[in-house]
């Protein structure tokens, strides 16, 4: 069985390598992607959006539609896991054996978590807020925020993490993040522009149009971060406790 898998992987790998030969060279200026599109982004994006990090401006502005539905995909994945795994008290059957009793609470892990969790959360918010200037943005910040909650749930238990961040709130916020994204786009529609054309906010907030783009992107990224945070945490608590939300790993 292992040998068959190895064979399949080897054949596929050779095929992919052969196919890769036909791709344009890395950074080839003549390749279709970089003939007009890249130049446009490189030259115009700072004037149009006043965001130094082109990746962010492409991701959240020029391809805002795409990113919105990526967020929706994450939301759907989280909801699917919830539907499959979450057990309410009406249908409860222990699948995962209860955690073995261990002598002594885990003081070392808990103290380390107490020291690290505030730092992690602040760092995550920094990543979200500075997506315009450094590598980062909603997805990354959301992942770090989510893992800080996972660290709490790992070192104490799921009950303690849930006590700080109720399951109902988790689900509400995970939908709320996507809705925030869509609402920012819809508001542009109501202000007389296209969907997700953040320039519409300029007149309302009294700032120039590029700045409106920049602030619009920040709002969108906050929405993404909230969704990713909640879905990460909800995935963890459902998977680790087998849907019972009692003790976890």
């Amino acid at each position: 069985m292992k040998k068959t898998a190895l064979l399949i992987i080897a054949v596929l790998g050779i095929l992919l390598l052969r196919a890769a030969e036909d791709l344009p060279f890395w950074g080839d200026p003549q390749s279709p992607a970089s003939v007009h599109l890249s130049d446009y982004y490189l030259e115009e994006s700072y004037e149009e959006t006043s965001v130094p990090n082109i990746v962010t401006s492409v991701l959240a502005d020029y391809r805002g539609y795409d990113t919105m539905f990526e967020t929706v995909v994450i939301f759907c994945a989280g909801i699917t896991v919830l539907i499959v795994l979450r057990r309410t008290h009406r249908r409860r059957a222990k699948v995962i054996s209860p955690r073995p009793e261990r002598p002594g609470a885990d003081i070392i892990l808990q103290t380390a978590a107490r020291l690290l969790v505030p730092m992690m959360q602040l760092f995550a918010l920094y990543v979200v807020a500075h997506g315009h200037h450094s590598p980062g943005g909603g997805f990354q910040g959301g992942v770090i925020l989510g893992s800080s909650l996972i660290l709490l749930a790992l070192s104490y238990d799921i009950q303690m993490a849930l006590h700080r961040f109720k399951e109902k709130l988790v689900l509400l916020f995970s939908a709320g993040g996507v809705l925030l994204y869509a609402a920012i786009g819809l508001a542009c529609l109501f202000l007389g522009r296209n969907f997700l054309a953040y320039g519409a906010w300029a007149a309302l907030l009294g700032i120039s149009e590029p700045e409106a783009h920049s602030h619009g992107m920040l709002g969108v990224e906050i929405g993404v971060a909230i969704t990713v945070l909640c879905i990460m945490f909800s995935l963890y608590i459902d998977l680790a406790s087998g849907g019972d939300l009692d003790e976890g790993l």
Binding site: R102, T111, P118, Y126, H130
Partner: protein, 178 residues
């Protein structure tokens, strides 16, 4: 009170992270710090019995302890390298065993510092803390050092001096018994 302290600490950290001093980013920072402080304020300071001056003094003593600890860590690394590169002698030098060690330290944080210091010093790793008993794995009888004896070890005394001054008479008691 402690939430304010957390907020200030976090804001210093934010400025270090961000490196941007315009009003927009600083206000974003203030909002972020307020959110994190509201979520984690109770988490960071669990023992509210001591006041701030004491905490600052503890931080100063802790820095001095860190210098001592760094020397120990370097020693530990040379110890590990010596064992790893020692050829045929390796099997003779190793004598791994697990022993229990009762600590007089009371607070979680000082136990945490003690346990991690034990992990970083030559030849010993903390396995778990159960009440006031530490389970320690030592790489050889010699490496266990004064932790294996009944009296109070040097490291424990140092950690006690940082965090648990009021507990010191208790420490002296244990010394006398030994």
């Amino acid at each position: 009170m402690f939430i304010t302290v957390t907020f200030i600490l976090l804001f210093i950290l934010w400025v270090l992270f961000s490196g941007k001093f315009d009003l927009f980013h600083l206000s974003l920072g203030a909002i972020s710090c307020a959110m994190v402080a509201a979520f984690c304020g109770k988490l960071l300071f669990q023992d509210k019995s001591r006041h701030l001056g004491g905490r600052l003094a503890e931080a100063g003593r802790f820095l001095r302890y860190l210098a001592w600890l760094l020397i120990q860590i370097v020693q530990a690394n040379f110890h590990v390298i010596g064992l790893a590169l020692s050829g045929r002698r390796l099997r003779r030098d190793l004598d791994p065993h697990i022993f229990h060690f009762k600590t007089v330290l009371r607070h979680d944080f000082s136990k945490f510092v003690l346990a991690n210091s034990i992990t970083l010093t030559p030849g010993t790793v903390t396995i778990r803390i159960h009440g006031d008993t530490l389970y320690i794995h030592a790489i050889s009888k010699k490496a266990a050092g004064d932790l294996a004896e009944d009296s109070i070890s040097e490291m424990e005394r140092r950690v006690g001096h940082i965090f648990e001054r009021h507990n010191l008479c208790f420490i002296a008691d244990k010394d006398n018994q030994a």
